[in-house]
Structure formats: structure tokens, C-alpha cells
Symmetry: C2
Subunit: 576 residues, 2 copies
Amino acid sequence: MRLLRIGMAQVNCIVGDLDGNTNKIIDYIDRARALGVDLVAFPELAITGYPPEDLLLKPRFIRENQERLKTIAPRCRDITAVVGFVDSNQDIFNAAAIIHQGEVVAVHHKMYLPNYGVFDEDRYFQRGSQCAVCVINGIGLGVNICEDIWYPSGPTALQTAAEAEVIVNINASPYSTGKGRLRQKMLSTRAFDNVAIVAYVNLVGGQDELVFDGNSLLFDERGELVAQGHQFAEDLVVADVDVDGVGRVRLHDPRRRKEAIDGQKEVVRHVVSLEGPPHVPKPSLPPRDSQVYPMPAEVYHALVLGTRDYVRKNGFQKVVIGLSGGIDSSLVAVIAVDALGPDNVIGVSMPSRYSSVGSRRDAQIQTRNLSIPLMTIPIEKPFKAFLGTLAGAFRDTEPGVAEENLQARIRGNILMGLSNKFGWLVLTTGNKSELATGYSTLYGDMAGGFAVIKDVPKTLVYELARYRNAVAGTSIIPQPVIDKEPSAELRPNQRDVDTLPPYSLLDPILQAYVEEDMSYEELVARGYPPEVVHRVITMVDRNEYKRRQAAPGIKITPRAFGKDRRLPIVNHYRES
Amino acid sequence: MRLLRIGMAQVNCIVGDLDGNTNKIIDYIDRARALGVDLVAFPELAITGYPPEDLLLKPRFIRENQERLKTIAPRCRDITAVVGFVDSNQDIFNAAAIIHQGEVVAVHHKMYLPNYGVFDEDRYFQRGSQCAVCVINGIGLGVNICEDIWYPSGPTALQTAAEAEVIVNINASPYSTGKGRLRQKMLSTRAFDNVAIVAYVNLVGGQDELVFDGNSLLFDERGELVAQGHQFAEDLVVADVDVDGVGRVRLHDPRRRKEAIDGQKEVVRHVVSLEGPPHVPKPSLPPRDSQVYPMPAEVYHALVLGTRDYVRKNGFQKVVIGLSGGIDSSLVAVIAVDALGPDNVIGVSMPSRYSSVGSRRDAQIQTRNLSIPLMTIPIEKPFKAFLGTLAGAFRDTEPGVAEENLQARIRGNILMGLSNKFGWLVLTTGNKSELATGYSTLYGDMAGGFAVIKDVPKTLVYELARYRNAVAGTSIIPQPVIDKEPSAELRPNQRDVDTLPPYSLLDPILQAYVEEDMSYEELVARGYPPEVVHRVITMVDRNEYKRRQAAPGIKITPRAFGKDRRLPIVNHYRES
């Protein structure tokens, strides 16, 4: 029986932090060795962080990343490591180094470069044209990268046809709802079809708009899940696999192998070493439960990690949030406290002449529930001063959106003033339904460094609030905040439904239009009222300019605003 | 002698305006026919506008664009037309239809898809795998698209090897300084090397961050420029070429042809028609001068067109500009007046306790010179109200950036208030040097819909001002505005040089770092003071978050901020 102890090191790398990432990789190599791991794998581009974007255009950056690989290699004694880095040879490649006995013995260049959604890999990388199999300690190992494994006829098929028994697939795969299930199904199929052990190692951590969720997966040759990493946390998953199982199945069912063999010309077979580290009896592995969350817990944890990493990786200690007493700002405050602790979150109540007593009270209760300070800064004086100052310019006009937005922008100015004065990062509190329809004020409630729930539709905001209360076993978000009718409170008796369709109708239309590119006709055919559909998609299209100036926020749906959805501002295309 | 009358229709298309673009194309086909044109060519993706970005993910959009091609085809009687559109066949293609006698007789799929800088074509399109030659009225015609012609061994070589005598290359090539010369040199080489007549037709007009400059070019088979379109204006360039010249040169020097013939396998030869429209004697062409500008006139005209198109294509009538009396806002006002006329530009002076008498006076003179109205809205009252309202929160702190930014954001709020009240678009006035170093206030002077001189370094701002005054023959921008020392006037005696290196030193460092990816070491080796270089690149790197929320503005340099330069906000890479 050939037992292989695999370590999947799902680490939280930081883009550009070549030294920090290198030290972390070395640290995990040492930890893995101490656990008797034979083969440890790190995520895609672990040395540079992912995605490095236009840092990849800087020759010095590429050079320095290659030097870090040389620092790591000699540390791989008595353990084999797979490390993601940027290789350079005339052009640059998204690459995985296989390091054995202190040497880089093979390098895989990613063959399938994603260039859709949030991905721009064709902007930077050249495709790899071949894939290798290394025989290490008598075990056939094929390494490939992320997108490579999504194609049935890709490197996984070629490598297993060339006798790879174990496939290590390293990833930087961002989280979105439903993706985990899809991944799991695809990987299980790939392992089963190719009769191979598949180790899927994913990055963890927040990077600008993206959250990588870890959740590394290990499948045996029958497509059974045998180990899984935590979701949204660093982890070193260690598991023993019996590589001989591969041969037994292959021997038993050679027909299944046949299909994969076509096209194996591109495979380069590397025989690296037949003798490995001295064989020492392995300690038995401690039992472990991996933490993987169901929806909406999963989304909640994505938001917490995304917020923590954006704040910390940008060097901020504290955040400040305008608390209106509404559900959006309440939820953002709770997420911020879960991400950063109550000592690092400041709430600011900025009541106006239109703020209800209930809203002020709810903001107070919210901060009390979270044990965070609440500053109260009424906006009446600046509002009055603006109205006076603009009285001449606004003469003979009716009060309207201009006066409403003045208030939102005064609040933005106050929050940014606190930010500039005390170095706090402003978290904005707008949700996806608002941002989609433009129901928000540029430089007002949109002012801030990070938009925590930017990709969360309003109906999901409610679900998340209820989820968090259920976990707390108490109304950490006050019940009235959840129950009351949504209002911007910028004029007397204002309600969201004066401007928007009810969220229960709006959100599914938005999802179909924004995330699925459904047309007006298709939406109407689905049974949505034509006039509502027309109104909604017109709002979405007209407000592209606002979104272009929005703060970055965490992608949690299959298509977020931001680099995931790139529409022109000047755009005369009319959907309806 | 086979004479061919070529028409290069460099039209201003609007992204998404399928009907408008189609009508315009039909109109130009009619105009060309009336001028006796045999072959008229339109820019790349003329039917959809360029770049349509994620509109291309909408199946309905693709379908509708194909229907428009069917509307256009029957209008091509007695004239051959080349029209850019999106073709669809399993995948989608950036395509050129060759229309003859009312039928689409061939379609070229772009073979080289740019996916760098501002381009994302791999995100959408599949590459074409073959290229055609059509023989129309006895003349061999090869059509290809934009990037296709930049590769010496690309379709141009293949098509001419397959007896194409005339190459029509249709483009959507955005303007940047120095690009015109490069294009001209490349095209001349391509015509000479392949012994072919090359007609380069380029889009014209502004689209979000881009300005397409037209400037279509026609080269004969010796690589001589024989006709040229206006720069920054719609144009129909009509010229007669003697196609027999091609054969004479090829016969004379067959060796030059040999090289191109290798690899011609991919060429599909389409023989379309040997009989053409009835031969009517052509009217002789009127003589014309094309208007192509030298620097900095060229940049100035790019800014005027970019501003006009952004404002008009977004449906705005008027713009509003905060006039500080400084050179940036003065220049923007002059550009706006040149773009939209004095009736559509409103200046607003928003003096504070720190505004100098000179600045207020200069703002007045500026508006008088331009015959535009000036509103004066002092910010003292809101500023005082903010200071009072924040007195508690700011207790025991020293006045600093927070108080300075309050003022900038009050101004932003006033301008946006006017925008919301009257439907005026706010033009921001920050230049590239400021935006690069973060010497600007988010939601303050950065508040607005369009950032006219966002890609113009401060030293070029001065050049443009002097250029415009020279053209006017008078100080349309008052001389004191040009002469005085730059200051933000947000605290007493503030000067830009208190925070930034002198612009004459700053700008070349910025150019090398931002546009050329030069490293710290390379900059120091160039002779710039190490401590200044360190300071500058640290400022650039730290202020990515501000730029992410900046208004779009016109790209005029080889690398602008915006989609041209994509850097992460969370970025621990340290250049020095």
C-alpha cells in the first residue's frame, strides 16, 4: 500500500506582499513537515497574492517574485511542495512550481486562462502549451492550476492518461453563492472520470472586491470527498490517501481510462526521483471537523472576512459607520463588530429634522447591543446653512431631490471629516438593490472607503439580519429595525416604496436582469408586470455613472457590480 | 487603368444606439454613392459603437445588431460597403461585413484581439481563424480589423499573398499622444512591404474615457500617404487610386512578394463578382485639406471632443464648473465653452475665508472673457456650521486636513446641489498630477460627473492654456491665472509645493512611473533625487483608493488612470 500524506495549505496571502507571503509559505512547509506530510500544496500565485493586476506589468515585481521562489525551494527538504508563482520566459505565465529535495523539478504553466467575470488573465499571461507528470517517490503527480481542471479534456485528462495518480489543482477561486456546490460536483466528476486523487487547494482571504473562501477539497479516485478545509479561514488540511487504490480501479475498468488518453501528445513526462525522504512512521492524524457554512451563514462569513481583510490589509485599525436606525446600517455595524471587535467600530447618528424618534432610538439600541460607542452629530445646523447659502440659487424652485441629497452629503462630509481627523475608515451601508436602481446619493450615503453589503440584495439583507439574530439567540439587531418600513428619511413621511417597487418584486427582477442578462421580453414572459420591468431596467441602466464612483465592496453573488459587470456609461441601448 | 474611388466614412457612432448608427451608416452610403464612390468603409463595430463592453453579453443585443446589418445590406446598390458589426456563430466575433449588390458577400472575423491597456476583447470575442479575399469588379480586396494590421505576418500579408490589391482596415483606435505618428509609420510600412493600397478607417468621437480621433489614412502601394481624414471630426474622405499600380510594382519586384506568400493556407479566396455597377464617368473630386493637429493643439481638440460627446451623448444640455481662479478650472471652463458654447456653461465661485482677492477676481475675469454666467456662493456659513457641529467631536485636536477637506466637500455639495436642482452636469477640474499623488479631496473637488483634464499633467495644463491663448490672440485665460503660484487655498498661505515637488520635477517622474512602469532604481538611475522619487511613488501607490472613486475622464496619454491602469487597492508591494 502506497500511502501519501497530502497537506493542503489554504493560506491568506496579501497582494504584493512578497516577503510576507514567502514567510507564510515557509512557515506552512515547516508545519506540514512536522505533521509528516509528503506533499504540501499552496494556492495559485501564492507568492504574489491574487490577483496582482497591473503589478504584473512591472518587470521588477516579476523578478522579485522569482527570487522568492528561490528562497522557498531550499526549505523543501523531506517534503514536496507545490507553490504558485509568476514564471517568466520571454512572456509571463501563471505557474506552479513543483519543489522536491530543495530543487524546482518542474513548472506547470496554466493552460486555460479565465478572462471573463472578474478575471483578466489574458491581459497578463501567456497560455501554457504542455503539462507535466512527475513521478515522486514512485507516485505519479500531475499539477495544474484553477481553470485548468474545469475542462474535461484539459490537463487533468492528459496527466492521468500519462499515469498521474494524484492531481494537485491550485486555485484562487473567489466566493459567490452556489459556487461551492458547483466546484464540488465538478471535482468529484473529474476524480471519478480520470480515476485519480484530486487535491483542490484554494486561497483564502479578502482582496478588494473579492473574497476567496478556502474550502479546499480532497477527492479519492472514486470521486468521494475525503477531506475538506475550513471556509473563510486559513487552514492546513492533512489527509492520508492510498495511491494504490488508483491502480486497482484503473486495472479493473480500463475502458474508463481509454477516453482520457486521446491527445496525450502534449504531456511531458518528468521522472524526478524514485527515492524519497527516509521513511519514518507517520503519526496518526488528529480527527477534525471542517467548518463549511450553509446559506445565508456562508454569505455572512464572506462579508465578515471581506471586511476584516480590506480594513486590516489597508492598514486601518478602526471603522466608522453612519447609523440611521435602518436595517442596512445596523447589519453593517454587526458585521464590522464581528470582523474587527467592538473596540474598533464607531457608530455615528446624524439625525435631521426628518429623522423619526424610532430611528434615533434604534440606532442607540443597536450600539448598546454591540457595546460600541455612538456619537450623535445632528445635521440641522449645516443643513440650515446650506439652505440659506443656496437660497438665492434655488429661488422660485420647489424643494425636491436637491434638498434631500444635501442632507445625505452633509452626512458624508461629517463621516469623512471624522475619517480625516481620526484615521477611521468609513464603511458605507448601501445594498445591491439601492445601488442597482440608483436609490442612493453620490458623495452622500455612498461616501466611504468600503461598501460592505454592496452586493447584497435588500431581501438578503433581511435574511442575514435574521440569521445573525438567530445565532446570537437574541435580537442583536433590534426587532423594530427589521420590522419597520424602509425609508431614507430625507423628507417627511418618505418610504422606499414611493420610489421603488416592493423589494420582494424588485430583487428577483434585478437578479434576472443584472446577473443573468435576461431581456425585457424574457422578464415579462416570466410573469413580471411589464411596467415594473421597464421601470426597473431603466433605473439600472441610467445609474451606471453612480456605480462607477461607488466604493469597492464584497462580491457575493455570481455577478457583482464593479469589475464583474462592465457597462458603458454612454450607452444608448434601450432594453424596453 | 483600373481606377477605384474609395470612401472612408469616419463616423461618430454611439455605443448601443443601433438605430442611430444604422441610419448614419445608410446616410453615408448614400452620400458616398452620390460622390461616385465604388467602395465605402466604416469603422470597427460601427453598428454597435465601440466599445460596447458587457452589452455584448446580452443575446438580444447581438441579435438586434445582426438585424441592423440586414437593414443596411439592401441599401448597398451600385456601391460596395465594409461595415463593422458583431457576428454570431456559436461564439461571437468582432466582424466586418463586405456588402456588394445588396448582399453580404463575405465576413471577416478579427484575428488579433487586443486585451491590454483599455482593451478587453478576449473577454467577449472569439478569434477569427481565416481571412478572405474578394474580387470585386476585378479588384482584389482584403478586409481586416484594427489590431489585425499591426502584425506583419497577420491577415494583411496573407490577403495580399492571395492577390488582394486593396486592403481595407477598419478601426476603433483611441487617441493618445504620439499614436498618430506611430500608426502612420506602421501603415506606410505595411502598404510598402505588401505592395498594396491600404485604407485605414478610424472611428471618431468620445466614449466614456476614450476619444477616437478619426484621422483616417489612405496609402498607395509604395507606402505614400495619398489621403487623410480630419482629426476629431466626422469625415467622408474620398480618393481615387490606380489599382494597376499594385500589379506594376509586384511584377517589377517579385522577390518582395515571395516573403508574404508563406502561410497563405489560411486564406479563403472568395470571388464575388466580376461585373460591377454600370460604369459611369466619375465627377472629379474637389480638393480638400484635412485638419490634423500638432501637439498640444491635438490634445486640446481631443479634450473638446471628449467633453462634448460625454455631455451630449449622456443627454445633458449644460455643465457647471467650480471656478477657483486657478489654472485648472480656468482651462476646463474654456474647453467646456469650446465644446458646448457659452450658453451651456455656468461658472460658480465659492470663496472661503482663505480665498485670495486675486483668485476671486480671476474667476470673474475668466467668466467675463468667456461670456458665461458666474454664480457666487460663499461657503463661509456652511463651513462655520460644520465647525460648530463638529466642535465636540474635534475637541482637543489641531486643525488640519479634516478642516481643509470640509471646505472642498462643501463646494462639492453645492455643485451637486445645483446639478440636482437644474440638471447640470458637474465637470471636475483635477489634473493628472493631482490625481496621481492624491492631492485632491474625494467627494470634494473630485465630485462631479466628468473629469475633463484627469489625464493631463499639470505642466501640460500650462501648455494648453498658452496654446489656447495663442489661438485666441488674447489672454482668454487671464495671464495672472497662468503666472500665479498654484494653491488649493484651503488654509492660510497654502502652496502646492508645500506638499508636492515642483511640477517640473514631479511630472516627468510621474510619467516614467505611471506610463512606463519604471522602477525606483531606474528612476534614480535617470538622475532624479532618490528621496523625491520615493515620496512620489509612495503617494501614487497609496492613493489608488481615491482614483477608484474618481469620475471618468478623457484619456490622452499612452496610459491613463481608469481602465487603462488596473492596480489593486490592497497592495503591499513597495517599490522603494
